[in-house]
Symmetry: C2
Subunit: 405 residues, 2 copies
């Protein structure tokens, strides 16, 4: 049985919904991967009494607890005080923590406000967690057979402290058997079609199958036990990849995350040293916008009116498929680029905003190996159509690049 | 004292962090606005025992609880069963609920799977909440002086049920005194500069001042008591608006939400019946992409290389400010549009990805009333620079439109 872990988020801004608590979800995933069983997530505000009650509840029922927030310098940051009261421990001044806080301000050429002195007081017996990324040190301690870890609520600081200290620290306190998560990421195929495609594969009882549909891609997840045979694991992953087919743009394994579709395309483009130009209609600039910081994208253009697009390139608008090809060839000639992607919507523009009407898009990709042309039907509200057309355009590029790598 | 309300989110996907719980934050905000005091948010997985324990805990300590999730047809959807066990009530078949579920499938021309029959069983004495947007009806009931509301976990369904039924229902059960929230939304000015600008304004003790910095804009929030004098309220808001100045793009009052900057610009463009073309560099298509479904945007283009941009328009690249103006005038002449916005980054392109180097952008807006030109310094990682340049371009347009409305 995996040890039980609870997450505890502190702050009025969380409990009143002004802030969506992304810390809890991030920590939950990280701790599931470490081998914990997450039993509860609780958020409370800044009332000392509520914090004390919750700390005592958790100490009674859980093996481990990670708490975020309430370590700041102001009067509503009460975590250390609540711990002292809940566990009957005095607060002690930690000169090393104080020096670190002073140094933080010194580096930024600012005087340390007197209120920050408070952050150097930790419950007696707690182990300090150094924080190079902000003023609030974290701390960790055992109470009543429960390991408590207290981290700052600023997400970037919390993640830095978790990665630099907490993960290893918890690994030493508990005998953990992390499960192994493999995720096949796909674009252009829905969850139910993936289920149908993999239905014939026999999955061992110890392996858990799950799906997760995001805005940009769908993940097919296989969760293997800690000690699962590596050869059998690879066989099962290969069977899934073969059945789902070339909709799979990457496979994440433990310790090997490939990022999203933009990251995959970006790496392929860099390796192959190609340059690209995009012409967009339905995606309205979002295709270019997704490729932020990608040097291989040299130009992009958005046209709301395909008639105007045809005129700009001195072409006739008879057949949109032929038009896309003709535009791509003109651009390749003018701009001397390797890859030109032209995506046109074939349906009436007025249908785009009607969430009940699907629209057809045609994507032409002119490459050194010739012209690729694919069509897709896209449905949903305008914003979803915009995003899907950008993602499918990017995926057309990905398919070409993976085929010719 | 406002009645105490807790939020309860059910589901393995939430407690293990596969899903960020946006329901809890949305409901918390909605219930704060209604006049509740939110004391806790708790998420648990799909274990019956955990659900029963939590329901009993909440019934002991809270006046109201909204629970999301666990109403689906599958074996891990256990809410009704947990309620029955926790509150010692039998589950009863509700023929009206069953008819609604059948009709849901009939409308979609699909046979109702047998598993969905389960969703028509509700705890004895519970009041059904009709769900036209999905198969799971919600329900509500009083137990031990606590009002419980159970809603589906699909965010769109949850929100529909809350808006169509729950808000009014809770209004009838409790004597609520909602506070009045006013929010001044700004672009182009940071939180600390706003604080300095409003420092001289005397704020009555009963009014709470707060700030919230989002990715696209900063909100300055004033929270007034339920019965605050309307004339005094308007005076205070006017003082804030005057001191912050024309960085304010909209003011939200109770019952009057203006949306984000794109919504504000979209309404102004529609009223003024103007058409626009955008030329982007640093924002890389994101400016066009933000204006999804806005018919007034007829074309957009992205250039990574300003030299190439100059060549495309047969212009010399001596002075980037003059270049932006010359491009805008050429486009206005060619395309016969009312508004042309050209935004160029004045710094070396290689500095964009260095988060420690700020870059300068110049935005030129050619209008029927002449040329507007503004400069901004933008800092942070590449993605933030991209977004900020798109937002500031859009805000340049907003300032012009508000001045000439």
């Amino acid at each position: 049985m995996n040890p039980k872990l609870e997450l505890f988020s502190q702050g009025e801004e969380v409990v009143t919904g002004q802030t969506v608590d992304t810390n809890a979800a991030w920590l939950a995933q990280a701790c599931v991967n470490l081998g914990f069983m997450i039993t509860r997530q609780t958020a409370v505000g800044d009332k000392l009494e509520d914090l004390v009650t919750l700390l005592n509840e958790i100490a009674e029922r859980s093996d481990c607890c990670i708490c975020t927030g309430g370590l700041g310098p102001t009067s509503d940051d009460l975590t250390a005080q609540a711990v002292a009261q809940a566990f009957s421990l005095p607060l002690e001044f930690d000169p090393v923590a104080f020096e670190q806080i002073e140094r933080f301000f010194l580096k930024r050429k600012r005087a340390m406000p007197e209120v920050n002195r408070k952050q150097a007081y930790l419950p007696k017996g707690a182990q300090r967690i150094d924080n190079e990324w902000g003023t609030a040190p974290g701390f960790t301690m055992r109470y009543n057979d429960c390991w408590f870890v207290f981290l700052p609520g600023v997400p970037s600081e919390m993640r830095q402290l978790f990665d630099s200290f907490v993960r290893d620290h918890l690994g030493k306190q508990f005998s953990l058997k992390p499960k192994q998560l493999v995720s096949l990421k796909t674009v252009g195929i829905g969850e139910s079609d993936i289920q149908t495609a993999v239905a014939s594969i026999k999955i061992p009882e110890t392996v858990q199958l799950g799906f997760r549909a995001g805005v940009d891609h769908v993940e097919t997840k296989l969760l293997f036990p800690h000690d699962y045979d590596q050869v059998l694991m690879t066989e099962l992953i290969d069977a899934f990849a073969a059945n789902i087919g070339d909709f799979v743009f990457s496979i994440d394994r433990p310790g090997h995350a490939s990022g999203d579709l933009v990251n995959v395309v970006d790496r392929l483009m860099q390796v192959q040293k190609q340059k690209a130009v995009f012409i967009e209609t339905l995606s309205q600039g979002l295709l270019s916008a997704k490729c932020v910081d990608c040097d291989w994208l040299i130009e992009g253009a958005y046209y709301s009116d395909i008639q105007q697009l045809a005129e700009d390139f001195d072409l006739a608008l008879n057949d949109k498929d032929l038009l896309a090809v003709a535009i791509a060839e003109k651009i390749k000639h003018q701009k001397k680029v390797d890859l030109v992607l032209v995506q046109l919507h074939l349906s009436d523009r007025n249908t785009i905003r009607d969430k009940n009407i699907a629209v057809e898009i045609s994507t032409a990709l002119l490459t050194p190996h010739g012209m690729l042309q694919v069509k897709h039907m896209i449905s949903g509200p305008a914003q979803r159509k915009q995003n899907q057309s950008a993602v499918l355009a990017l995926d057309t590029l990905r398919r070409y690049l993976q085929l010719h790598q």
